[in-house]
């Protein structure tokens, strides 16, 4: 039996040689078990060693191998040839991000936004401005309290939701799905006291109000996080803040 073949179009861009990206076609042996990431590794090992793409864990934990598969943001390790064969596959770097080289994008803006929202627990301070001492024991939390933020904490920062967000595509000033979901993750944590600081980011023009509830971010998330829900919940919080602020200015 002859080996089945699958055709893969890859959008390539070599900054030192090209003025704009172009499509290169590859034909590789088809295997039902093969992921898109493995197909890329096959191409790099056997067909064209100059092709660039990011990857690390191969099991949807690290969030490195995000790319557009037939126009849909996916993790290369979590998308399989069998779901496309015998049709051809088109691979492009993640949408809405500048292309660094081939399938590698510049994620600086995304990383900056994640840092800006203070993605860590800001503990309560006592009258002396000090946080609880280690000797006083751990911060305790019930399963119920954890349930309130748990799904938002599953984010692996892969950036697929930014590639799925037309609002971010139209204006990169928008804080975006993952960073806002991360705000919800910390604001909803019973051990955290940093809500007031983060609500400043939430309530500004580029915060939750830049979202028009397209909802595609939640569809493409490979970890089952629901950034669209996080943003709508934050809109409710932002509105409450606004209303309270009208009657009780700080």
């Amino acid at each position: 039996m002859s080996q089945k073949i699958i055709e893969i179009d890859i959008l390539r861009y070599r900054p030192e040689l090209d003025d704009e990206p172009f499509t290169q076609v590859f034909e590789i042996p088809y295997n039902a078990d093969m992921s898109i990431l493995e197909a890329l590794q096959y191409i790099k090992d056997h067909l064209d060693s100059t092709i660039s793409f990011r990857w690390s864990c191969r099991m949807a934990i690290c969030g490195s191998c995000g790319l557009m598969v037939n126009g849909v943001p996916k993790l290369g390790c979590k998308a399989f040839l069998r779901d496309y064969h015998p049709k051809k596959i088109t691979l492009e770097p993640l949408a809405n991000f500048p292309i660094e080289r081939d399938l590698v994008v510049v994620m600086d803006d995304f990383i900056k936004k994640l840092e800006e929202i203070k993605p860590y627990i800001i503990p309560v301070k006592n009258e002396e401005g000090k946080t609880k001492c280690l000797s006083d024991g751990a911060y305790q939390q019930t399963p119920e309290q954890m349930e309130k933020y748990k799904q938002f904490s599953m984010c692996i920062n892969c950036g697929l939701c930014y590639a799925a967000c037309p609002q971010y595509g139209l204006d990169t000033k928008f804080t975006g799905p993952a960073a806002l979901a991360l705000i919800a993750r910390y604001n909803r944590d019973s051990r955290d006291a940093g809500s007031a600081e983060r609500m400043k980011i939430v309530s500004q023009e580029e915060g939750v109000w830049g979202c028009t509830f397209v909802g595609y971010c939640s569809v493409v998330c490979p970890k089952g996080v629901d950034p669209a829900a996080a943003i709508q919940l934050l809109k409710v919080e932002s509105s409450k803040d606004y209303l309270i602020g009208m009657f009780k200015p700080e």
Binding site: P15, I99, L170, Y216, V219
Partner: protein, 129 residues
Amino acid sequence: MSKRKPYTRELPNDWWMKQLFYTKYMLREGSSVFITLYSLILAWGILRLSQGEVAFNAWMQALQNPFSIFLHSIALAFALYHTITWFSLAPKAVDLWIKGKRLDDKIIVSGHYAGFVGITLFCLLVIIL
């Protein structure tokens, strides 16, 4: 010397035509155009009502026009589409917890439909009686 030269792709104007999900979203957003038209026609009717019976009857007459019926049918279709898609998204904006468990999505959605039917029946009764 660095050979870095990041390439920024432009978002094409027809971005929403390339993905069914985006197209459906734009239809949901676009429904507002027809719902605005409908509201304007209705507001016009109220204005005509304030101008007396003859004026109001003329407005009612104008509504019988096939074009007007066509326009209202489209507005109705869009309003229903918006309602259905909006109700299905409603659970995302609701954060109700009962006995430590988040209220089931189905209950929130059916609650919206129940409210919708209830208010529609109430309006119908007000109009008929």
